[in-house]
Symmetry: none
Subunit: 129 residues, 4 copies
DNA sequence: GTGGTCTAGACCACC
DNA sequence: GTGGTCTAGACCACG
């Protein structure tokens, strides 16, 4: 896993975990049927409380993304890949709208906005390689 | 004012108000020296609790964006315009990075991402007119 | 409220609370729009941990039975009455099937079973008055 | 054996096994002195973990229902039949009370409750043939 | 006052 | 080892 938790983010930690697991499933970083990291392991890795991870995993079960294999762990549920791919666009679009709304509200110049987007896109793509 | 409060947003309401006031100042929707709406008035307008508005205004005073005028109300502080213009880019860039990070993390295809951005930009610009 | 929590029950405490709230809504002991007892109050009343009540209430929100009123409390959601009335039959039927299955599996005589049911029904109805 | 294990049941799997063995003894589906299926065999049959069966059998020995026959297996203990017949009523009555309590708590109408019971009884009896 | 989140640590059931 | 539940207690956002 390659999760990144930001405690100063407005989003609750458990929710950050939920989103990132969904994104990982959407991107097939974890495949259907595979086990996700154990509660304790992920908690150790992210240096957060196991209860917080457990809460995120519970949510993911409720959302049909994970399913329990008793005594073994949690696996990515059948159909979760498609579901998460769809949800991914929804989630990202929502955030995008928020950014653009704020840009517009602050009367950020259209050209400035586009160049900001381009520079950040370039920044991300540079990391990507 | 033309604020938009979303109670279901993860962001705290008072924080939404803070951001939007800063954006309004950055965009010169309210100018330096002008009074912002009173706590009660804004609360009524947004149908949120006056305490919440008061809290946001307190924050904005701490951030140097607003300054009290005895017996009159709160005015946009000198220098707030430049400050907010700078901060605006920082805030928007931060959100933008978050979106792009999630897009990348979910392995959203570059082309898909760009077309998503374009469609949302178009959407915003359509509203803008 | 008149909840009864049995820590020795196989059912998790938070789940007992969930069921009983649903039953209370189904039976209109609490009506749509009314506030349910606060987390802390119900926790005190049942002498369980507030977190446990909070968890049950979170579940009930997810199930659409309760809805938050910010800073005020949790209210029975619109439509929850009908939903809970329907769900009530499902929940009770499931339990009933389990009992009858076990009765049959242990080859309990049909007559004995019926008289057992009758005696318990009478027992309950006696209390009811 | 004709056990039915429901992993999604709230009841622990080992406990389902315990109950069902007791019911089988009560109903003389297995008679005193007879051997119950080996741990591995029953585990295979129910597609559950052998440890779980072993645990159930351990419990049943502690409860005096089964007794080990060195080098042979586990047999239904002397007196287990009567014991289980008695226990059966206790177990079933407990569940019955729970159902009726919930029915009453949700203010399910007496007539509706009775007709629900009748329909489920009919359902069970139909299967029985 | 309200609910929500998080941490810390214990115990249980299951594999 | 796994996840699930529960307790205890702290802090935050909101009204």
């Amino acid at each position: 896993m390659f999760f990144r938790i930001d405690p100063s983010d407005d989003l609750a930690i458990y929710d950050q975990v939920v989103r990132q697991v969904k994104f990982a499933v959407a991107g097939e970083v974890v495949r259907v049927g595979e086990l996700v990291p154990s509660v304790r392991e992920l908690a150790r890795e992210l240096t957060i409380n196991p209860n917080t991870v457990a809460r995120a995993y519970r949510q993911l079960q409720a959302d049909g993304v994970l399913e329990p294999i008793r005594g073994t762990g949690l696996a990515v549920a059948a159909g979760a890949h498609e579901q998460c791919r769809t949800e991914r666009v929804t989630l990202i679009r929502a955030r995008l709208r928020q950014v653009l709304f704020e840009a517009r509200q602050s009367r950020l110049d259209s050209g400035q906005l586009r160049s900001l987007i381009e520079s950040e896109l370039a920044h991300v793509e540079r990391e990507e390689v």
